[in-house]
């Protein structure tokens, strides 16, 4: 029996602020943030991410964010593409529905964390997942919270995944 195929799993990390958070966070928040992180999982030559319109996929680096600011090697997986799609569709109907998007509690990084654990058993780096709590622990973040609740992040360039009838 041939060894099962191992597919590499990568984590694409984008800084949504394009360096501004790194410069302005000491002034605005009082603590140093390196960036406003948006992440996506790349496996099977596809990039998968979660936004305000649900789970989407695109070719790697194919969103309007362009190429990622950094790439993290998460590991490798035996999960086939087919199985992965199944998994994603089940996620898309449960935890990561389109309306379940919450910029603090259930955002793109939450999704990426879940998927990474499914695929490889590993989590994504904590500096990414700790970002919401970092921001909310500052008075500025607390002040901005009602404003940010309505924030919807959806990098354009992807197509919906895991939704019946392909609705977005």
């Amino acid at each position: 029996m041939e060894p099962p195929n191992l597919y590499p799993v990568k984590l694409y990390v984008y800084d949504l602020s394009k360096g501004l958070a790194r410069r302005l966070s000491p002034i605005m928040l009082g603590k140093q943030l390196e960036g406003i992180w948006h992440t996506s999982i790349v496996v099977h030559k596809d990039e998968f991410y979660f936004g305000s319109s649900g789970i989407s996929s695109c070719p790697p680096g194919g969103t309007l964010l362009g190429p990622p600011d950094s790439v993290v090697d998460v590991g490798s997986t035996e999960v086939t593409e087919e199985l992965f799609q199944e998994y994603l569709s089940s996620l898309g109907e449960s935890l990561f529905r389109r309306e379940a998007y919450d910029v603090f509690e259930n955002n793109c990084n939450t999704f990426t964390n879940e998927v990474a654990q499914f695929l490889t058993g590993r989590k994504i780096p904590s500096y990414i997942t700790d970002l919401p709590s970092e921001i909310l622990s500052t008075p500025f973040g607390q002040a901005l919270r009602p404003f940010l609740v309505s924030v919807q992040i959806q990098p354009p360039g992807g197509s919906p995944v895991g939704r019946p009838n392909g609705q977005s």
């Binding site: 605005m28 070719p59 035996e78 087919e82 089940s90 654990q117 058993g121 924030v151 354009p156």
Partner: protein
Amino acid sequence: MPHVISRMPRMAQDGCPSGLPANKNISSSVTRVIVKTAGKQEDFMIADDTLVRQFKEKLSTHFKCQMDQLVLVFMGRLLKDHDTLSQRGILDGHTIHLVIKSKCSSRSLAHSSRNLLTKEPCHRDRNTEGNSNGVYQPAGVSHTPVESALLVEPDAPKMHTQDLEVDSPEYTAQILQNPSIQQLLSNTDLMRQFISEHPDMQQLMQQSPEVSHILDNSEILWQTLELARNLAMIQEIMQIEQPEQNLEHPLAHTGLETMPGGDNALGQSYVDCNDQMLNSSQDPFGGNPFTALLEGQVLEQVQSSPPSPTPPQERRDRLPQLPTTRVIYTSSRGLSSITSANVTPNRVTHTPSAYATAIPAKCRSHTCPIQQPAGVPALPSIELTQQPQAEDKDGTISLDSSDQKLEDDLQASDEQSSSQITGNMMQLLLSNPYLAAQVMFLSMSQLSEECRQQLPPFLQQTQLPDVLIALASPKASRAILQIEQGLQLLATEAPVVLPWVAPYLWGLGWLPAPSCSHPDTCPGPGMCQILLNPKIPNAATSLEPSCRRYSP
């Protein structure tokens, strides 16, 4: 940004609970396994050596599906039926992922086929596909917002550099153009809270309470910002501060340290003087040119209170030049010759000093309204502008009641100053006969010959001090103005009547005035001669344009 790859070995241990080593050696112990599926997770207590197949059976009954639908994934590895849990390293507290495949496998095929189909075109023109998704893209926004990242649309060429450093001010300007950022910034309460609650800002406010004073008073804040925007003003302030600081701090930049406090004081005094100037005079630079002189008067009073404000000083220095420029302007209009304009500034610049110093009114008030039609048509303009003011002095239609008294004082000195200026003008013309001839030649070419004949006696007459004093009185000049206006009116309405008026004027001219001790030297007939000389039928009418030109 911490490099993540180095943390990978540690990541593997992140999923491991702390209580591992204890259970490792115990075989066939019951372990608690977390099974995660489709957004929910459940705990299962199973034995270590349970076969995966057995586990699957258990799960299938639990999740109500068939065994072949179940796929177990642990650490990225698919669990085969013949493996045991312990073989795969599944220990207590580990999470096993479960995927329940749909019964209809065609659906999964559809997903993959769709994926395959979309892949090819996507790879080729992924940028255009992204750009064509126009629903999500706000028009004209090409930068990433910090807080409200509604949509992200960076420039493709920019991204290739993967440059996280944003040092260019243009980029910041771009950020500021983002409407969501603008919306955030326009929320004044939020911005005020944000600024005032920042620890560094609070520290600054403790050090210099002026800063908090600036922030609290929005007017001062606005004015300070306006002041700061004025680059010339900043330079001025720096130049002021620098010489003061030179002794103590030879470095140039240390002068700036005093700017926050000094800036406010200067700005405040600047604003104060501005307000006072605006309050004291209606229209500093338009309309009546001589109110500018009076502004200087007002400012001199104000100067005593504010502490060394340079801008008002500069204004004061600048202001007395304004009436001179105005006079030059009006005179140049009347003279309509460049050479005369060149000559006048040299002379006329003396007028401010003449004004500033006490000039005995007897010798220097040279207003000769009678000369005006014959000589310098510019002078009527000055006189005319003064007369209506004298008329309106009591009315004060457009003046505030609070400033009325000030305006009255201004009026009185107004006429005095105007008379002095016109007197100096006359002085100029008298001392330069060629210039005077040129003036009259240009203004009234038709009357040139006769005017030249009449000039010498006029000039002699104007030098008589009594006559000049008489003419300097406002009522006299008002009367002369009325005569002039009457003649003008006659000229327009009934030019033929003019010759009949001559005897009246002639008679009036020879009547001795109460204050006039030399009746035979009264200049009345001179004017009439010129106006009503039959040789010059158009004398009166030719005067009209010049009069109309300069009438207010």
